[in-house]
Symmetry: C2
Subunit: 309 residues, 2 copies
Amino acid sequence: MNKVDLVIIGAGPAGLTSAIYASRSGYKTIVIEKSAPGGKMNNTHKIDNYPGLEGKEGWEFSMSFSAQAKNFGAKIIGGDVVEIKNLDSKDSKIVVLKNDIEYMCKTIIIATGLKPKKLEVVGYDKYFGKGISTCVVCDGAFYKGKDIAIIGGGNSAIEESLFVSDLVNKIYIINKFSEFNAEQITLNKLKGLKNIDFFYNTNVIKILGKNDKVSSIKIKNVNTKKEKEINISGIFTYIGWNAENFFIKDKEMLDKNGLLIIDKENMQTKYKGVFAAGDIVSKQFKQVTIATSEGTKSALEAVKYMNNL
Amino acid sequence: MNKVDLVIIGAGPAGLTSAIYASRSGYKTIVIEKSAPGGKMNNTHKIDNYPGLEGKEGWEFSMSFSAQAKNFGAKIIGGDVVEIKNLDSKDSKIVVLKNDIEYMCKTIIIATGLKPKKLEVVGYDKYFGKGISTCVVCDGAFYKGKDIAIIGGGNSAIEESLFVSDLVNKIYIINKFSEFNAEQITLNKLKGLKNIDFFYNTNVIKILGKNDKVSSIKIKNVNTKKEKEINISGIFTYIGWNAENFFIKDKEMLDKNGLLIIDKENMQTKYKGVFAAGDIVSKQFKQVTIATSEGTKSALEAVKYMNNL
């Protein structure tokens, strides 16, 4: 069996930051990632609001964070974690990969994140990251003075619409239900604005593009069956997430949304030496800055745990 | 009177991140700073653990964060805040500068930070940032295999010594008191290590250098009056901080250490629309990543507050 000090599961901004901090502290650290290192940063066109790296592409962030972790000695390996075992053990926890490779370690940081649910329509995969985004706070500013569509019927769709309402020219909110499951006060505020059009009982049926960018959206009312094509430059989907938690057998570690329950003071799960960071932990704002902060804290707590072994 | 949407007090990493987020959201934002923008980053030789900007100098961070805030429209002005008034007001709070200039604003973010107490000895000012640091987690890794001194008698001195004990060759812990005011378990752990020398009842009396870098430290036992010079490459001081809170008249906003009391869920002080971020808020780890995360959250909360006005 392979032995290391710390296994980090997931190489998004949280996991890679943990890797930078832990390996820089001298601990043997590996990061296990099932796709390309970088996490959701890889699906982001440009990241403008991360201090110090203005206007770099998402993939450049991924490369730069990964290189930095490697420079301090962390190893980033491809692999699909299927189970974590011996979590009660002080210094011999086990992380099992799909191909039966096992890593024994003193500490684990779970930073697997969330996967946005996909809109199952033609054009979604083609234009994701080219006009389609899952984060208004991140990408809204790229649509200053333009028209956008926001897809969803919950609080996020409403709050994020309000967030960007001053900046864009017009927002079409497409809700497949007959009403919004959102805070009334925010909804009322939004309804008072002139540049918002609401669609209810309405599905997106196609996303169209020009020159490799989103140009319009086709929608259909489920009652009247009437279709409509609207010209927009950007689409933001708020249709939910799937937590990447399949390898966690102890369901007591998870809240009702499948997110990791931690003590926010020290980022620790119910097991000592097992920490979590990033979007797999419940939070209001999903931002790279916030993920790196949680990656920092969980790594420093893991280092403290190992120093005291 | 000048009118803006948001006044940020302090241009360290937290304040500048708030400025990036708030101005990018379209709100008129000013940052007031009494010395050079960048805060404690300016006193840091190299910052290696901030993801994406490996190995840049502290001042390069300051320049880059500031430029980014300005690009989105934030104004950074020099000024000494002497009072904040009308904090109960929904949208007409007032920030007063030394020269009687006043800014009326809807929201305030306090990000003034902490000032490390200075060691009042010859050589401290000359070599600060050139071998003298106030943060082992930040700068310890630059002393791999070398000898360092850690000055202090509290928990921080002890915890940070343990943090870096595997990495450096030798640590001299210089405590001016006869014992440590620290957790016994951590202290015992440290006492069990071979590469730690403890000095009690001992003052630092001089810091010496060669080629513009720290090279040794002169200490003196207050009882025996015996002096000793020790060759070291780095000095870390843990002798306390002063909170930059002089402009806050309502002492109920502060905890016993002079730090801002906030609701950590939304970064808000006891006044609605008045937020705080960075080292002026109580925290375990003082890191740029953590400051930028708090700057992000406080700005997004301020934006939410203003959207709902």
